[in-house]
Symmetry: C2
Subunit: 218 residues, 2 copies
DNA sequence: CAGGAAAAGTGCGCACACGCAAGTTTACCT
DNA sequence: AGGTAAACTTGCGTGTGCGCACTTTTCCTG
């Protein structure tokens, strides 16, 4: 195992992280994203403002983190769950689609809030980069040693493609007038099927996956 | 033409932009990157600090901009310069390599300075994203309408790959002690051939380019 | 060629990011 | 156990990011 006992130190750290995330999201929902200062979030979580940004580099990151928490681990697990005989391009695509569509009620509500503010949308899009390390690991696992280099490039390409898909998906929500009062816009649900967008965007990369896979098992 | 007369307004804007870039780089070289405040840069360029960050979002961006200025336009021209019959993957790779290796004396010196500070290195790496729009345009040009979608993904993948190559190339320069006094480290020249790194990193994407190209001209 | 709209520059003020140097808690070792 | 080293938290100070309101410059149109 890689986790003998997590250790008290680490558990406290994660607890603080979660407390900050939840406080940030709760306050953002309650009074609107712009009416929340880091000082408020820190106070609600019981830490100092200085400690706050030992955990988060910006106000937006904390709010977004409440939605994206644990995504890195889940996407790795999702790839690992696919049968080893499966085409690598398909395994990755399915894992990614599953990750961005099978979301809970709470995540959907929060995501709706996020679409109302440009700063939040960009912070959310930036979290896409977080899937790169786990993807690199899982792809490298399937490609073996000769494909370790390609794995890095492919994972980065997938992350870039996912970001593009999300950008396109969030674009219609970019109207500035509907975001005037935060709780009003229930109609800003992004257009089109996210699944379809993700699949279509990842499709051009499939040949690169196939070639890399072919290089390991001729 | 798309530039009938540039207009006085636009010329002044670009002049200010250049003045800020040059001032930032000059001051950074003269007294070391950490001993320069935005106030100093703004003063040297003859504008207010407030105006400064109508142009740049951070102190590092201005310094780095002096090196990367015009890269977007040059990379587009570099791709356009390749014969139309050429394999697209090769055209893009050559254009990128040319862009990052055929640099002048002044750029080399500035790049040396950049490697000495983590903040500057990251700002420099972030500029890699700027090549994506021109690449998208040039790739889309060669792929035609049916490949417009793939062009976006491929360009983003190239940008991601280039960033990876640059990260690896700059990694050995990450020693913190050699960066103590700014002008001292002439030995922090990054290891290996940048050309080779770029080619090796872009290589896994070639099959994706080939497949996209094949789709347009069977 | 006037006159007004649009855009750029500027001064002000607040919130945030982050380095530094304490002080405090946790972990590990003999 | 006891002691020490490492990690985490925190207060403080500075530099920076940016919204807002206002002035100046540029451009367009009647």
């Amino acid at each position: 195992m890689t986790t003998p006992p997590p250790g008290l130190r680490e558990r406290k750290k994660q607890a603080t992280h979660e407390a900050l995330r939840e406080a940030a999201l709760r306050l953002a929902v309650e009074r609107g994203p712009d009416q929340v200062r880091v000082e408020d979030i820190a106070e609600a979580a019981g830490v100092s403002p200085r400690t706050y940004n030992n955990y988060f580099a910006s106000r937006e990151q904390a709010i977004v983190a409440a939605v994206t928490a644990g995504r890195e681990a889940r996407i790795a697990a999702a790839v690992a769950a696919r049968p080893t005989g499966m085409r690598l391009a398909d395994a990755v695509t399915e894992a990614v689609v599953e990750q961005y569509t099978n979301t809970g009620e709470r995540e959907q509500r929060a995501l709706l809030l996020i679409t109302t503010r440009t700063a939040l949308r960009e912070a959310f899009l930036d979290t896409t980069a977080d899937i790169e390390p786990p993807l690199t690991a899982m792809i490298a696992e399937r490609l073996g040693d000769v494909g370790a280099h390609a794995a890095r490039v492919l994972a980065a390409s997938v992350a870039a493609a996912v970001r593009i898909a999300l950008e396109g998906w969030l674009r219609p929500a970019g109207n500035s007038e509907a975001a005037e009062s935060f709780g009003a816009g229930g109609l800003v649900v992004p257009s089109g099927s996210l699944s379809d967008r993700l699949r279509a965007t990842l499709e051009p990369l499939a040949p690169a996956f196939d070639a890399a896979e072919r290089r390991t098992q001729p």
